[in-house]
């Protein structure tokens, strides 16, 4: 089955000052189940918008989009049906964790809201999955390093065991050494939970290291599709 299938996907931003600008122009995208697909391009090329449409966070679009056979509507995102299908890890771990919630609270609340049995055990496992000690439960975001925060954000995204993980520049705010740890972690978790991943990055090295296939985006359109052989040389040394 196709994990993501987009046909003629267009989207625009409208602001009062500058009117409407197109961010996606009739984009076609197919991601197979189980692969890691990369989107690369300069800032403003529309790659993040594409991701946010799939996450249901951007609602102004036209075209056909389906995720694991489930069709999306611009004004009606099937949130309940997709809760354990699509989750997202955001770019900036400083902005994606609630500043006033402890790690324990941030991870327990989704489990409780979705009536998942044995939330305490699941919380411990989620922390264990991302290599964090149980004692971190009491910490608040400002008491953790960037790498720890991103681990918490990944643990949170995996709480409901999604089959598709959207990654929006997950390591661009981190140091290289921490980036290496996070990328390794993502690959481990992908194998453990059989996930499909859609990775957005502006770093060719990250895309080349992570992805089975990738698309280069330019000005809101797909400029080039890169297969594994091309990716091997794409990132340079």
């Amino acid at each position: 089955m196709m994990a993501i299938d987009c046909k003629a996907l267009s989207a625009d931003f409208s602001t009062r000052r500058s009117g409407t600008t197109a961010v996606l122009k009739s984009v076609q995208l197919r991601v197979m189940t189980g692969e890691t697909f990369g989107l690369i391009g300069p800032s403003g090329c529309g790659k993040s918008t594409l991701l946010r449409i799939l996450a249901g966070l951007h609602t102004r679009w036209r075209g056909e989009v389906s995720i694991f056979g489930q069709t999306l509507q611009p004004d009606n995102y099937p949130r309940n049906a997709l809760l354990s299908t699509v989750q997202m890890v955001f770019q900036d771990p400083y902005a994606s964790l609630h500043p006033r919630h402890s790690v324990g609270r941030a991870l327990l609340e989704p489990l409780k809201v979705n009536n998942i049995p044995e939330p305490a055990r699941r919380l411990r496992q989620a922390l264990d999955d991302v290599g964090l000690p149980p004692s971190i439960e009491q910490r608040y975001p400002h008491q953790m390093s960037g790498g720890q925060r991103q681990r918490v954000a990944i643990a949170r995204a995996l709480l409901l065991r999604p089959s598709l993980l959207l990654l929006d520049e997950p390591t661009s705010a981190l140091d290289v050494s921490v980036q290496a740890e996070i990328l390794n972690l993502l690959n481990q978790l992908k194998a453990r939970y059989n996930m499909t991943m859609l990775l957005v990055s502006h770093d060719a090295g990250v895309i080349a290291h992570m992805c089975d296939r990738a698309a280069v985006m330019q000005d809101g359109a797909m400029a080039q599709l890169l297969l594994r052989e091309q990716l091997a040389i794409y990132g340079g040394t």
């Binding site: 996450a55 249901g56 966070l57 949130r79 309940n80 809760l83 699509v86 989750q87 997202m88 955001f90 770019q91 900036d92 902005a95 994606s96 964790l97 609630h98 500043p99 006033r100 919630h101 609340e109 989704p110 809201v113 979705n114 400002h142 954000a153 949170r156 995204a157 709480l159 409901l160």
Partner: protein, 287 residues
């Protein structure tokens, strides 16, 4: 129980207190308030005499041995009236805040988060209330509701919620598109749970500061209402009403008005210091 527990974690009191002690302004303000609250609580034991006992023979005595702060025009002991008067003055001010701040926060958060027509209607309503001079509006409400302690408090509360609504809306707008709210929505956390557990904690620190600042203004508004006879009814001692009484004889027996006036001044300064301190603590750089 659950609600209060949740509120308690929202305010996370202990670390706040510990940090609060590091801000001298907040410490001074809080200590003054604490003293006043203790005095108000133990009024029957602390007051030298009955605040309502009149003794015409001893009227308008200057401060001295028998009556430390003098007596008023009915010969009542001003110190006793001041001590007893702290109760309604502070109590009503707290009541006003307890009514106004939640209303304002609710309206502001809903307006900011929902947006669209809801926001327009709620914010225009807020602007309309905000456009009237506060005291005139409070007078109108008090007149409409009838004189009395509770009605006076309600009247003032109805005039000050808009500032909380504006504040909460601004804060809510600034985080509406934040990644952490997006992440919460993606995990199935929505509507009241999202607003109460995720948006409100962001607005609260600002609201704390605002409450502390508004307390001073509220005591003055209540005093003005009392002064005009629309607040606390005589003979209950209330600082605003005491100033009103004293103003009739202000040129000859200045202490009758000056003593409760000074008490209002001190409490206002205390609240403002506390607000200053809280604002410093709310600053993220104070970690």
């Amino acid at each position: 129980m659950n609600l209060s527990a949740q509120l308690f974690t929202l305010i996370d009191f202990a670390p706040r207190l510990r940090r609060g002690l590091r801000s001298p302004a907040a410490t001074i303000g809080a200590s003054v308030l604490l003293i006043v609250i203790i005095v108000a609580a133990f009024a029957p034991w602390l007051a030298p005499s009955d605040p309502l006992r009149q003794d015409i023979a001893l009227r308008l005595r200057p401060p001295g041995a028998g009556h430390w702060l003098g007596t008023d025009n009915l010969g009542r002991d001003i110190l006793s009236r001041l001590i007893y008067g702290a109760r309604p003055t502070l109590g009503i001010a707290a009541l006003v805040m307890a009514a106004a701040a939640p209303i304002g926060l609710l309206i502001g958060i809903v307006a900011g988060y929902v947006g669209g027509w809801t926001e327009r209607v709620l914010m225009r309503l807020t602007d309309i209330v905000l456009a009237f001079p506060q005291l005139v509006l409070a007078l109108a409400f008090a007149g409409l509701l009838g004189a009395g302690t509770f009605n006076g408090a309600l009247a003032v509360a109805l005039t000050i919620w808009p500032s909380y609504a504006r504040l909460a809306r601004t804060e809510t707008l600034s985080i509406r598109d934040s990644d952490y709210l997006a992440a919460a929505r993606m995990l199935g956390i929505r509507s009241s749970r999202l607003l109460w557990g995720h948006v409100l904690p962001i607005c609260l620190p600002f609201a704390h500061v605002r409450v502390a600042l508004d307390m001073a203004a509220t005591i003055l508004s209540l005093s003005s209402l009392g002064f005009l006879g629309l607040g606390v009814q005589p003979p209950t001692p209330e600082w605003g009403a005491m100033v009103a009484d004293g103003s009739k004889v202000i040129f000859d027996q200045w202490w009758v008005a000056a003593v409760p006036g000074a008490a209002i001044l001190i409490i206002c300064v205390a609240f403002n210091l506390l607000a200053d301190g809280l604002r410093d603590l709310g600053d993220p750089r104070h970690g």
